[in-house]
Amino acid sequence: MLYTIIKENTYKDSIVLMLLSNKLSAIDGVSKVSIMMGTPANKDIFKSSGLGTDELEKAKPNDIVIVVDTDQEQKVDEVKEEVEIALKGESDSQNTSKGQEAHNWKRAMELANNPNLALISIPGQYAAMEAENALNEGLHVFMFSDNVSKEDEVKLKQKAHEKGLLVMGPDCGTALIHGVPLAFTNNVNEGDIGIVGASGTGIQEVTTIIDRYGKGVTNALGTGGRDLSTEVGAITMLDSIKALNQDPKVKVITVISKPPAEEVQRKVLNLLRNIDKPVVTLFLGDKPSYQEENIYHAYTLEEAAVVAVQLSNGDKPNFEPTTADVNVVLKESQVGIKGYYSGGTLASEAAMLVRDAFKDTMTEEQSDRYVLKTNTHEIIDLGDDVYTKGKPHPMIDPEKRIEMLEKSVNDPETAVIMIDNVIGNGGHEDMASELAPAIKRILDSARQDGRQLAVLATVVGTAQDIQGYEKQMEILKESGAIICKTNDQMVRTAIQLICGKVEQPIVDVQKFDYTKENLAVDDKVMSFINMKPSVINIGLKSFTEAVQNSGSECVQFNWRPIAGGDEKLMKVLQFLNYYEGGTI
């Protein structure tokens, strides 16, 4: 008995049809089967091979026709099932490269699927060389590595610029590329605010506040801390601003940096004045002395985030700083603010605000161990090199922070202690639970000593972060800490507790002349920020997992220094590899 199955207007690779044909022929009880496109010529073939049926006539050239000869009618269902599976089945993926690792560039490029980004986290003395290799391979570069010389940075960024590529870093801790978080970055909703920043925790604070306001960031490009130096000349920042300007999905551009060298700041502002999209700038440490029609100059990270959200909503910028409610009775002798930060930019912001509030009354000591040090206040960035030598970063390792907290309580002048808890990718899996017992202990110990103490804490993160934003706040609150929504709020609360106040700048809108700039951007940069990156990760393996978890492709390149890092052998190899003699 002949049965005809017609799949109208169905197209499959020939190989699928052939495999299907083999499979169907192998079914017990099927004596004959043929699968072909329903062209007139093929219908003749069906007929001449004894598989002609009436239904066959209905088939059109673009239909797949299957004629089965079997005595058992129930076999037809089995055939139909197989046909469905074969025709629906995903095309055989050829991705056998998953899970494989490379240990040289050639292999990494083979394994990677059309890579466009190298994520570099190997020791600084080798990082520049590998970054150059990456640029030679046509990849954008994200350099987590630090200890790269400024000369190398200039060389790399110039080369990248000429090739239409971006170099983020060195010492770049944070970036979001088309929603994919790299290195130490929070999981932030995608959205229409574009960010360029020279500071890692600065980007984290701003993107997480934006996220918590229900808006989003698709691209946050890090530049590394020295990009706005005179020598580097903001190469990466300028290219990034142009890219965000060209990206039709970006509505508001936000620029975050420490105050740059004057001529570099001029260059950046001139470019921004060429741009029609609304811009928010934050040169953290500078108190804005003017506003511009299309450029909002913010004073704090929270202000930058809030204004970006307002502009993205089409609202007029309007930022009102806030303070948290604190129910603590302080003695008159308790006048000191202590800040123990893991985020460098957050520490700088705290120092800036404290300085602003007490500028008339305080004298600062100069010390590279402190971001701010007076006889009563101290603000410390525990992520600074002087504290991290040979130790993990305080975002990962709570030890140093706990030590500082316990020491601070011995000082009877301490009134307020501020701490940050930066969560997200790359961070500690539950920092709050590490800090909570110490907070509880110092609060108890102060109470036993007959005084009260305010411990303020802020969590930098989003609900999507694995550590859980709410959960981290809950744990800290439980321990007796007062939770502040942002670093800005935390510092202003601390200042208010010892009866100070920071005034928001009230400034006029000014108009500036500017020189016209070419806003064109290389296509490679545009496609970079408009696609999930395909990454080659050179160094820390955890970065590979993070990238893969966010649904992007990543090949792990297990980098080793050549000749095991032996300097003499490296010189021998260099000598031999570059040897040129007429008579060897």
Binding site: N104, I562, A563, K568, L569, E580, I584
Partner: protein
């Protein structure tokens, strides 16, 4: 001949290896082609060494060779000669020869003669004795000595007569090419090549007129039983190829790798006859029932000449069947191994095309620079000897050369070229 860069010199070395045309032409007494091999002289595997530093199996081989030559009546007499410095030792490599495991070769042992017709270089290697108690693993009982006599009196002459009927000799590259497609890598597995050799030689042997039928039968039976017979042919061929390559005298391509149980020695083209040595490693692998790594002797033998020409462990992927045997897991591990080896090699050998490697040629030209640069050392497939003479082979596995050999070699070469570090 001048080369501008090391890459150019290396390219010339590689071309020399590709061009090599090794032919098996004869089997002759060692002393007839190695004039240095006089009375009371023995050849040994690996870089130069003293008797007292030899491991037990190699010393056992020396005893066996002395008994075979009749220089002493019994073991005691043989040890006497050896311990009183009455025996002169020369590395095989210094006299155009190579020797498996202990590599102990004496004047009257028959050796295979392989001629590289491209360059005229000749190389010699003793014949494979089979498995079990054999001289190369240090056995020297009566059975071993009797077999050596049979090889001298019957096997050698019969093969010699058979090979001499061929005007050109037997083209070894043809055997290599055939057998690599049949799953041999020529160090741990030679069964296809040995059978291909038997296929060529058996009809000739049976047609030899001046050989007794009984002897023909014995020889053919021995060849049919000896799966690894081709290994020694491959070694002599490798030596003839690499000695031709050594005439380039420039560059960083490795031209010899060998070991003597004490030291691993390598040569590179640019440093001529100089050995760069470091203490050997002990092979890692699988052991026959009843033995373990504790019983294993350190690495020895000149057979790593096969890896030097890019087969053996370097061509692991050609021989999926042996990957289990040498303890490297399955097919994908073999693939991974060979892929990794491409990172320290300069090119691939179009003469040795490997079907299981998507018809890529075997690795060609180990570059000592790349070894140092990447820290990846060549993989050598090897038999594992018992550390006590006479037990024979107790397992098989892989071993790596110590990287210091390569570090010393490139440093010396850089200094030769004027590097002042």
């Amino acid at each position: 001949m001048g080369f501008r860069t090391i890459n150019e010199a290396n390219e010339a070395v590689i071309q020399k290896i590709i061009a090599a045309a090794p032919f098996l032409t004869d089997v002759v007494p060692a002393k007839s082609v190695i004039p240095e091999l006089k009375e009371y002289v023995l050849l040994h595997a690996g870089p130069p060494m003293k008797y007292e530093n030899m491991t037990d199996p190699m010393q056992g081989s020396c005893v066996g060779a002395i008994l075979f030559e009749g220089w002493a009546k019994d073991e005691e007499g043989a040890r006497d000669l050896l311990e009183n410095d009455q025996i002169t030792f020369i590395p095989c490599h210094h006299v155009n020869a190579v020797g498996p495991m202990g590599g102990i070769t004496s004047p009257n042992m028959p050796v295979l003669v392989v001629v590289n017709k491209e360059s005229g270089h000749e190389a010699y290697c003793q014949m494979n004795e089979g498995i079990g108690a054999v001289l190369r693993f240090g056995a020297y009982n009566e059975q071993v000595i009797n077999r050596l006599h049979w090889m001298k009196d019957v096997l050698g002459p019969v093969l010699s007569k058979a090979l001499r009927t061929l005007a050109e000799g037997l083209n070894v590259n043809v055997l290599f090419a055939k057998a690599i497609a049949m799953g041999d890598e020529f160090h741990q597995r030679n069964i296809a090549a040995s059978l291909a050799f038997l296929k060529e030689i058996a009809p000739i042997i049976t047609s030899l007129e001046d050989v007794e039928k009984e002897q023909c039968t014995e020889v053919i039976q021995f060849l049919a039983d000896t799966d690894q017979f081709f290994l020694n042919i491959a070694m002599a061929a490798g030596k003839a190829m690499m000695d031709a390559a050594r005439t380039i005298e420039h560059g960083t391509v490795v031209t010899a790798m060998c070991r003597n149980g004490e030291n691993f020695g390598i040569r590179i083209a640019g440093m001529g006859d100089e050995w760069f040595t470091a203490p050997v490693n002990t092979p890692q692998g699988l052991y026959f029932t009843g033995y373990s790594a504790e019983d294993a002797n350190t690495d020895m033998g000149d057979s790593a000449i096969t890896e030097t020409i890019g087969v053996g462990g370097m061509a692991m992927i050609a021989a999926p069947a042996v990957t289990r045997f040498v303890g490297t897991g399955g097919f994908n591990d073999a693939l991974e191994t060979s892929n990794q080896m491409t990172e320290i090699c300069i090119s691939e050998n179009p003469n040795f095309v490997i079907p299981t490697w998507d018809f890529k040629g075997a690795c060609l030209g180990i570059d000592a620079r790349k070894v140092v640069e990447t820290g990846i050392t060549p993989v050598i497939n090897t038999g594992i000897a018992h550390k006590i003479a006479g037990y024979g082979q107790i397992g098989a596995g892989t071993v790596h050369p110590p990287i210091e050999c390569f570090e010393k070699a490139i440093t010396a070469y850089a200094e030769k070229l004027g590097f002042k570090g």
